[in-house]
Symmetry: C2
Subunit: 225 residues, 2 copies
């Protein structure tokens, strides 16, 4: 089985991405990040999801709080009750500077040492919050850079960055995950959860997720406050 | 004064790069990395060099030891006494997987939050150890990716990655640094130093450095074992 590194936050999109990578026949290493996020409860979800699939999981510890500037890592309120129609039109304060670049850089290092040529991440550029590092042109540019960055690359390995959800709606993502048997009750998407975990139901991540389940006529199995 | 983020390891090349960035009129933030390197003594040098120039210095703490695979972060001997002529022909075990990609990813994040458009790093592709992430094509690909990665980029900021030493010989680097008043006695280039700090005089980094000073007919002010 070919190896792959899968970025696993513990949310809905990354859990679906892990299921897709496994269905495609990859032996997966799940990589999670403890970066000072206010929703660190997602890390328990990441470990639970990886455990469910019996895949190795590593948590990389970095601290993005000292950077500041984001509602996910600093004392800035997470926006609530934003209209779905407005999302993606401007980049909200939940943006974390260069986060996916940092995450993918570590994924590349892990891919190189573990003999993986494939890296999966669950970014989505359709029903999303407008983050620049979720766009297809960004992913393509990272892949190009990655193929010049490593010893493995010099030796002929070609890395591929897979973003299987990038052109899917949130509704399509949930439908695909349910087809693959993803247990969304184990996942935490909320930016502002409380122990339980209980999701807030009002941040962008919750609203996008709830609308996806509603659109399918399904109940989201996550617990909400 | 325009702001710049400068990767500062504490070695000869990065100290010279900081001097060049300052001479070009940049207000510099020096970024160093504690990544589990065996030559962590270089971090004291980084702080000393930054202090000498009165520039703000941040140390990012990450742990690349769990990745393994490098003589700089794992229990693998640092190669000694390699002929200078052979360097750059194959990538030695001192290669750290995706290290410059990880460092530049953090530099990009710091540049974005601090309002810098310029990032400097002291890579060199002439008298070097053959690391893939020191080549001009890699630097260009990183810059291209960086300009798609951030909120600042979406808002019109254009980031430039400067590698002023990339086409210089080690001798030219030292000559330029001496011109700019760099105190190389404060820097630690050695991959395998002992407290003092005392450099080994036999690893690639020491041999390249010693040959540069010798080529100029100067004495390297660093202390050797």
């Amino acid at each position: 089985m070919p190896k792959a590194v899968v970025l696993l936050s513990g949310g809905m999109d990354s859990a679906t991405t892990l299921a897709i990578a496994r269905e495609q026949g990859f032996d997966c290493l799940a990589l999670s990040f403890s970066y000072g996020q206010r929703h660190a409860l997602e890390l328990d979800a990441a470990r639970a999801v990886a455990g469910r699939y019996g895949v190795r999981q590593e948590t990389v510890i970095i601290d993005l709080r000292s950077l500041g500037g984001s509602a996910l890592t600093a004392d800035i309120p997470v926006p609530k009750d934003r209209p779905l129609a407005g999302m993606g039109k401007e980049i909200p304060v939940t943006y974390v500077p260069a986060r996916n670049t940092i995450f993918l850089a570590f994924a590349l290092a892990w891919a190189e040492v573990s003999g993986a040529r494939d890296i999966f991440l669950g970014v989505n550029a359709l029903d999303y919050s407008g983050y620049p590092d979720c766009r297809p042109e960004y992913i393509a540019a990272f892949e190009r850079m990655a193929n010049l960055a490593t010893k493995a690359g010099v030796e002929g390995v070609r890395f591929t960055i897979h973003a299987p959800l990038i052109a899917m709606t949130k509704k399509e993502i949930v439908a695909r995950g349910l087809e693959l048997g993803v247990d969304y009750g184990m996942t935490v998407s909320c930016y502002d959860p409380v122990p339980g975990p209980l999701a807030c139901g009002r941040c962008d991540a919750c609203l996008l997720r709830l609308s996806a389940f509603a659109g399918l006529g399904k109940k989201d199995p996550a617990a909400y406050r």
